[in-house]
């Protein structure tokens, strides 16, 4: 039976709840499982914190959630990155309330202890009475690990475990693909984030983000109302579009497999903007990568991928899926701006607003369905979620990458396989 009426037996035996083809409903509702996820996945594992372009200058900072923890991500005077627990070492107040900003130092609002942007204690008011006492904690506490790839900064509260490169595995290819749409190889996430409150478990958003089966139903209204959205891709069950499970919980819908069937057309991924409207961007790409490689990049476009556990490279948007409680999630989204391609960026901004966020033509409906999912799994029978679509036709290559058709549930199975490994492992992620 599902929680909350009857608690899952302890210790939780994840292989008995997460099977290869079906998932027990309690994993979306049980508070003990949520607490376990915050520990194993969102504390000890690697979680996206910020992009380097959000804090480009010394003194810049953003505050972010790592699991349920508030952390400050800063750039110090020498340009180095830090991530610090948002807690004064003196009496525990939150040091930084602002979401983003630029400071020479951080000062606690309680007694005025002041910290450098690397977290070091710079000074305290009226220091005399501390003389002769044993050493105080030196400054704001850094999180255990911080690393970045392609400008994406990730953090972990756990000192042990795989390094970031190992965690990302084949997903680095998607980060490269996205950054490679810029003639300089660099993207900017500088437009700010939409914040969308959803009354559902975080995993429902993750599953949906790489679900090729729901569009005709959930987005039927947009298919009916918007000719471009309806025609720019092959959304039928017979579509050449493939989905992949590349291992370690990283999955995608590979739209390039559709776009490559029309090699005479660039930019289908922009919603079909004619090449002639982006002459400077095309020229800059040719200059950087040569004619053939630029053309390949501009046919393929960006990835549509979900990186375990909670960041999606969602074509020309980045989405972060932040768990709040078993039944509450905040969905963050921001457009991907390409350095050296300003011609594209205004379009990307306006497309992001059209599709995403609480008023978006797409995501508002995804949020609604996720809420119905959450309400549904609170009903006790049948106990299991089915994820077996396309299992028989899935192809596995020599490296273990699984490939299937657009509407197959290979991507969801890939997420859950890794989830089960992480949740069952001795010592967590």
């Amino acid at each position: 039976m599902n929680a909350p009426l009857s608690a899952t037996p302890r210790p939780i035996a994840y292989p008995s709840l997460v099977e290869d083809q079906r998932i027990h409903g309690s994993v979306y509702t049980d508070p003990a499982i949520f607490a376990d996820e915050i520990d194993r996945i969102f504390s000890r594992g690697w979680v996206f914190l910020a992009h380097e372009s959000e804090i480009p200058n010394p003194g810049d900072f953003v505050t972010r959630k790592l699991g349920l923890q508030s952390v400050i991500v800063t750039r110090d005077a020498a340009g180095g990155f830090h991530s610090l627990y948002n807690r004064c070492p003196h009496r525990g107040a939150v040091v930084c309330q602002a979401e983003a900003g630029h400071r020479r130092s951080l000062t606690c609002p309680y007694h005025g202890w002041t910290f450098a942007m690397d977290g070091a204690l710079m000074g305290v008011p009226a220091p005399g009475a501390y003389e002769g006492l044993s050493a105080q904690p030196a400054g704001l506490a850094p999180i255990a690990r911080l690393d970045s790839y392609g400008g994406f900064i990730f953090g972990s509260l756990g000192a042990d475990g795989p390094n970031l490169t190992t965690h990302l595995g084949k997903a680095v290819e998607w980060i490269d693909q996205l950054c490679g749409l810029s003639p300089t190889g660099r993207i900017r996430l500088s437009a700010g984030w939409m914040k969308h409150k959803m009354r559902c478990n975080w995993k429902m958003i993750v599953e949906n983000q790489v679900d090729g089966y729901h569009a005709p139903m959930v987005h039927g209204s947009l298919l009916a109302a918007n000719e471009t959205f309806a025609s720019v891709r092959d959304r039928k069950d017979s579509s050449p579009t493939r989905v992949h499970d590349v291992g370690l919980g990283h999955t995608d819908i590979d739209h390039a497999t559709d776009y490559r069937t029309t090699p005479d057309r660039l930019f289908r991924w922009t919603g079909g903007v004619p090449e002639a409207k982006l002459p400077n961007y095309v020229a800059a790409m040719r200059e950087s990568y040569g004619e053939a490689d630029a053309r390949r990049r501009l046919i393929d476009g960006p990835p549509h991928s979900m990186l375990f556990p909670n960041i999606s490279l969602a074509e020309m948007n980045i989405m972060v899926i932040q768990p709040i409680s078993p039944t509450e999630t905040i969905h963050y989204s921001t457009p991907v701006l390409l350095e050296g391609a300003e011609e594209m960026n205004a379009r990307t901004m306006r497309r992001c607003e059209g599709a995403l966020g609480p008023a978006g033509f797409l995501i508002a409906d995804d949020a609604e369905i996720a809420e119905l999912n959450q309400l549904g799994v609170a009903n006790l029978e049948p106990e299991w979620i089915l994820l077996n679509r396309g299992l028989a036709s899935e192809v596995v290559d020599a490296e273990g990458v699984r490939t299937a058709g657009l509407m197959d549930e290979t991507s969801q199975r890939g997420f859950w396989r890794h989830y089960r490994d992480v949740m069952s492992a001795v010592g967590g992620a």
Partner: protein, 164 residues
């Protein structure tokens, strides 16, 4: 102390403008999509920014609809399959603190609103300031721009698929 008095450059009927704002609110509250869309000028901007006075060229907004996208929004709602408004939310808003000034031929109003949304057993409160830019059209007005500054635009917000 100096009191600055705004001198309208064209004659304006404050009561008629208030009545127009109330009518727009009622059409939105009652999901009268065609009637609401008909209040808009041919060139228009419907904007729900995030944060204080952002530059929409560099900062993302929750809504930044030109006239064509506004039409798409209405078309989508009218399909009857826009799940986030199917069934439609129960809505009623109060409008108050209306201030009116004119800029050339344009009338600019700023008003405060409190909107209560009933959705699936919950009452959700929305509040903010709406700024309308209106043009005279016969004996009536048309909206050339509406900016809705939510008091909590910096915070996570729920589905905003209805007309705000």
């Amino acid at each position: 102390m100096t009191v600055q008095t705004l001198q309208p450059s064209v004659a304006i009927d404050h009561d008629a403008i208030a009545q127009f704002l109330y009518r727009e609110a009622r059409f939105a509250d009652e999901h009268r999509y065609d009637d609401w869309e008909a209040l808009w000028a041919d060139e228009a901007l419907y904007w729900v920014p995030i944060g204080e006075d952002p530059d929409p060229a560099t900062r993302i907004s929750y809504i930044y609809d030109n006239r064509a996208r506004l039409a798409s929004r209405i078309r989508q709602l009218k399909t009857g399959r826009r799940h986030s408004q199917e069934p439609a939310s129960g809505l009623r808003r109060l409008i108050s603190n209306i201030e009116i000034e004119t800029r050339g031929e344009e009338i600019v109003t700023r008003s405060n609103f409190i909107l209560v949304e009933s959705r699936r057993g919950a009452l959700i409160t929305w509040a903010g300031q709406a700024e309308h830019r209106l043009r005279k059209a016969g004996g009536d007005f048309r909206i050339s721009a509406k900016t809705v500054r939510l008091v909590n635009s910096d915070e996570p917000i729920s589905n905003l698929a209805f007309l705000i």
